[in-house]
């Protein structure tokens, strides 16, 4: 205990003294998702072209988000290029913590980006994060299991449809779970997924007075639906499964359905990556009659530069321009297979015949899913915040972390759904009050 305190104190004391890498060597912090691993692999090309050395820090998603937040808030400048999502880009750009990315060369073609993706990474029309891939939510399902059970996936499935299907195709004897959903606690893991279910049921996080609404009817219904379907048709140990764990489960044939990020579509059709590539189907995010417009979250993984980076800013910009260019998409397609080309960012990628050939089963659906999200009106009622799945306030990370813990506790059975929601509500009230949104 004493040790950790000293370490924490020292970290604070030394925060300003940590030097970043030498000139023409940049440090890139990123997440261990497949697309970033590919970027790391292909970056040899960039090093050879420019002579700039790259140092990689690859972390698990939750850890990365913590590190980056601490780094950027204390202006430590340990990283020259950081991987951030739309939420962080919006928040940090407004704080003045990120460098503008509006001066890339003409061939970069800003107008080529899908408007929804570009907007989610821009503040007042200026881009602060360059889209690495854009995503929303989509339902993946196994056509062979559906056929065997004699059911068909409707054009626009509802939450109830999915629950029914999940039960029908569950076959635990043979290790097939009807549905896999994120259970791992985290503000970038299970919390935004549940948030989108709540939106589908017409609910929201806060009313117009910033009073938390976590014990309202839509939250209860969303929790009931989620816990019920996971109990009847989910995998064991679901409370520790995040995006990457579920991806392994689905692609090794252990899930009948999976609602998750659109960016996974290409992997699931790639025989090298997935054992169910020949039988994976795609359906929209589930809706309800309360909110027939329901869509998933709007999000993008993007590359950004902390404002505290000065010496290496030019080299960092060069790298970002390379990694989010039209040519990069082509490079991924040629080297790694077109299925893995960055999705949801550039219109030009979707216009390439090579991409259309292989991505035909999902390309339109992914585009539709990304375009369907409206962050300014994420749910039925009027709300004081923007953001679908993620809320654009500084407190969301803390809220999402703790509430994710409570949801995971309900999933593993150590709390009831009611306890989880009540504790979340109490915590949210405490947090919002401390942050000065309202007085008791």
């Amino acid at each position: 205990m004493r040790k950790s305190i000293i370490a924490f104190g020292a970290a604070l004391a030394l925060g300003g003294a940590v030097s970043s890498a030498s000139a023409e060597e940049i440090v890139i912090a990123t997440v261990n998702n497949g697309d970033m691993i590919i970027m790391q692999k292909l970056s040899k090309e960039f090093e050879d072209q420019t002579g700039i050395k790259l140092r990689w820090v690859v972390l698990e998603e939750n850890t990365l988000r913590e590190r980056l937040a601490a780094d950027i808030a204390t202006k430590a400048g340990q990283y020259d290029v950081i991987s951030v999502n739309s939420y962080q880009t919006q928040l940090w750009a407004k704080m003045g913590w990120l460098t503008k990315l509006d001066d890339f060369s003409a061939s970069y073609d800003y107008d080529d980006f899908i408007p929804a993706t570009r907007q989610s990474l821009s503040v007042d029309g200026v881009m602060y994060g360059a889209p690495f891939y854009g995503e929303s939510l989509i339902t993946f399902y196994r056509k062979d299991l559906f056929e065997k059970a004699g059911i068909t996936m409707p054009e626009k499935p509802t939450l109830d449809d999915l629950a029914g299907f999940a039960e029908k195709i569950t076959d635990r004897e043979n290790g097939i779970n009807g549905i896999c959903l994120r259970g791992k606690p985290g503000w970038g893991e299970n919390t935004p997924l549940i948030t989108t279910f709540v939106s589908a049921l017409g609910g929201e996080w806060f009313d117009m007075e910033w009073k938390p609404r976590l014990t309202s009817e839509p939250w209860r219904q969303a929790m009931d639906w989620y816990l019920d379907v996971m109990k009847k048709a989910g995998p064991v140990g679901a409370a520790t499964n995040g995006y990457n764990e579920n991806r392994v489960l689905f692609s090794s044939g252990k899930c009948g359905m999976w609602i998750d990020a659109t960016v996974t579509a290409g992997y699931l059709l790639d025989p090298k990556e997935s054992q169910v590539s020949d039988t994976t189907g795609f359906a929209p995010f589930p809706v309800t009659d309360k909110n027939p417009q329901a869509a998933g979250w709007s999000g993008a993984w993007a590359l950004a530069i902390p404002a505290s980076v000065t010496d290496n800013a030019a080299a960092a910009k060069k790298f970002i321009e390379w990694a989010t260019s039209k040519e990069y998409a082509r490079l991924v397609g040629e080297r790694e297979g077109w299925l893995l080309a960055p999705s949801g960012t550039r219109k030009s990628t979707y216009a390439l015949p090579e991409y259309q050939n292989v991505a035909e089963p999902f390309a339109d659906k992914v585009l539709a899913a990304i375009s369907a999200v409206n962050p300014t009106k994420p749910t039925v009622n009027e709300v004081p915040y923007t953001g679908a799945g993620f809320i654009d306030i500084a407190e969301f990370q803390a809220l999402g972390t703790t509430i994710g813990q409570n949801i995971a506790a309900a999933l593993s059975g150590s709390k009831t759904a009611d306890e989880a929601l009540q504790e979340s509500q109490a915590y949210a009230e405490r947090t919002m009050e401390r942050a000065g949104y309202y007085k008791k």
Partner: protein, 290 residues
Amino acid sequence: MAGYQMKRTARIALAPSVLLLIVGMIVPLATTLWLSFRFYNFMNPTLGGFAGLSNYEFFLTDPAFLQAIINTLLLVGGVLAITVIGGILLGLLFDQPMWGRGIARLLMIAPFFVMPTVSALVWKNMLMHPGYGIFAWIAMKLGLPPVEWLSNYPLLSIILIVAWQWLPFATLIFLTALQSLDHEQQEAARMDGAGPFDRFIYIILPHLGRAITVVILIETIFILAIFAEIFVTTSGGPGYASTNLPYLIYVQALMQFDVGAASAGAIIAVVLANIVAIFAIRLAGRNLTA
């Protein structure tokens, strides 16, 4: 006896290292103390200024606080119980002359050299995983449903992992203590007709008193600060079921970015650790001077 001159020289020679220790302890502690009275949140630079006691109030009224204290003590108590009892038994075992004793001892000590994060990952993914862990496999072979260790018994799982790491240390200390036990005394007791159980209670256990004290003292200091195992396996969850005090402080500081409340928590933790330490040192003092 050393003369006055000698003593003074010794003091002067010691001064730099003592100074370094003091600086290394006081500076962070003072920084933390100062921060604990300020409003300071990484993510919200508009907040600031003097907070009075509100950080302390915020930390102490955290619904997780009481549970974190209880978990911290359970963790220390549980691991101590397992390592002291298990360590004595293993010490007795390895004290027996047997074939391959050297190798066996080496294997016994091995877990102590595995990094906490690594051993936590091995336990999480290779042993306790309900899908493909060895425990699940054993359960399946016995026709039982696999246990979801980290979801259903989070604190017990952490206790087991930490105990596994500290068992070698305890065993090693007890083994050396046992080897210094006078064999003639043991022999004499046997001749007088004392059974193995009596010999253990009246000869071996009193002899081990000092070793037990040392094990309790050193392990307490380290286990109060357990962090990596929790971070890697359960992230303090589900809910707060496996959140101990260091982990709670970490959550405040680096997940909620509330440096003020985290610093207040750190100061509270220092106070609690000192209370525990005073007890432990008293206990040890009695035993070590005896």
